[in-house]
């Protein structure tokens, strides 16, 4: 952590001004078997954060500035032990940041179960529901099993044995279903976790 502190990018410093380092520290040890906590996954390289990390932290600064009360609730969700809760909160922050940058003046709707934002435009109200698509539990478990498997033993000296997992993040295609492929299951599972009636059979 000391080296990271020395080489820290200014964007990370901005994040730590909103969420204290003492709150983030315990997250570094968390894992679902393969993935780290979504916040740690996002900021991973503290010396050179990814473009997504930069955009998310910039959006977080906008939330903190414009909607401090909402930021308090978001902070708890970001630091949650539930990885899906934390990832969803980060997705909402990114959506808010993008809508603010488009000068659409989104207003968060905080009641549980409601859509996430309301935008008033030309006497019209646009309701925005944010959904952060994530890897499903079965694929997560499969990846964790691969990561924790015992190393393969080389059959003879001078030979190395490696294995690599094949994980379609939207679910493994079912060979028994004629319409299933990697893309087929991806488009079937892409979001649509709205309250609307589902159209997928």
């Amino acid at each position: 952590m000391t080296d990271q502190a020395v080489n820290r990018d200014p964007v990370i410093t901005a994040l730590l001004a909103i969420i204290p380092e003492s709150a983030i520290s315990p997250l570094w040890t968390m894992s679902d078997g393969f993935n780290r906590h979504p916040l740690c996954e996002l900021i991973g390289n503290m010396a050179n954060p990814s473009p997504i990390a930069r955009a998310t932290i910039h959006a977080m600064r906008l939330v903190n500035q414009n909607e401090p009360e909402w930021m308090k609730a978001l902070r708890n969700r970001i630091l949650s032990n539930e990885f899906t809760t934390a990832a969803a909160a980060l997705g909402e922050i990114r959506a808010y940041g993008t809508l603010v940058m488009a000068k659409l003046n989104p207003k968060p709707i905080s009641q549980k179960g409601n859509p996430d934002f309301k935008i008033e435009l030309d006497q019209q109200t646009i309701i925005v529901e944010v959904h952060t698509r994530q890897m499903d539990d079965a694929e997560r478990a499969k990846l964790a099993a691969w990561a924790n498997a015992a190393e393969a033993v080389a059959p003879c000296p001078g030979v190395s044995v490696y294995s690599s997992p094949s994980i379609p993040p939207f679910g493994e295609p079912d060979p028994a279903k004629p319409s299933d492929t990697v893309i087929g299951s991806r488009l079937k599972n892409i979001s649509f976790k709205t309250k609307e009636p589902m159209c997928f059979g």
Binding site: I127, P169, P175
Partner: protein, 172 residues
């Protein structure tokens, strides 16, 4: 409006804005766009997926896309991917988006207008016409991929099909 965040975890690497097109080649053979099919696709629409050695899997979509469901009240879907943002509008929305909403998205540095399907201007049917042209092109491409020299499979598990002689173009 549904905001789809695909910037989390492995999705950030696997679904980019080219998936808002009906088909695209992403540094490799041509494949279907998952986002486009998920909203505009119909049951039976051919889905193209690339396999090794120049083969394709071409399977019928097993369900209707979101905008094909008459019960949906969505006016559009915004997908935020690692390489930018796209807007896919409903061809016949219950409530149309105000023009100012689309114009506001143009202010974003990473909004991919060229990959979005939007009702720019006053023509209310531009989205349905665009989708219909895209669908026709997709069907034409699939017909070509089922002819030599391409090899394809018609299910994920089936063996590769070598097109029959009658599939070949007539010899002059």
């Amino acid at each position: 409006m549904l905001w789809l965040d695909l910037c989390s975890g492995p999705n950030s690497m696997l679904v980019d804005t080219s998936h808002a097109l009906p088909f695209a080649s992403r540094a490799g053979p041509i494949v279907s766009g998952a986002l486009w099919a998920a909203v505009y696709g119909t049951c039976g629409l051919p889905i193209i997926e690339a396999r090794a050695h120049g083969r394709h899997v071409i399977v019928p979509m097993g369900h209707n896309g979101k905008f094909r469901d008459s019960r949906t009240k969505l006016s559009g879907v915004i997908a935020a991917c690692s390489d930018g943002v796209v807007l896919l509008e409903h061809p016949n929305p219950t409530v149309s988006l105000p023009q100012r909403f689309r114009n506001a998205l143009l202010m974003l540095m990473d909004f991919k207008a060229e990959r979005s399907v939007c009702a720019w201007g006053d023509d209310a049917e531009i989205v349905s016409r665009t989708v219909s042209i895209q669908e026709m092109s997709l069907h034409a491409i699939v017909q070509n991929l089922k002819r030599p020299p391409f090899l394809y499979q018609d299910s994920y598990a089936s063996p590769t099909r070598i097109p029959d002689l009658e599939d070949q173009p007539p010899c002059c």
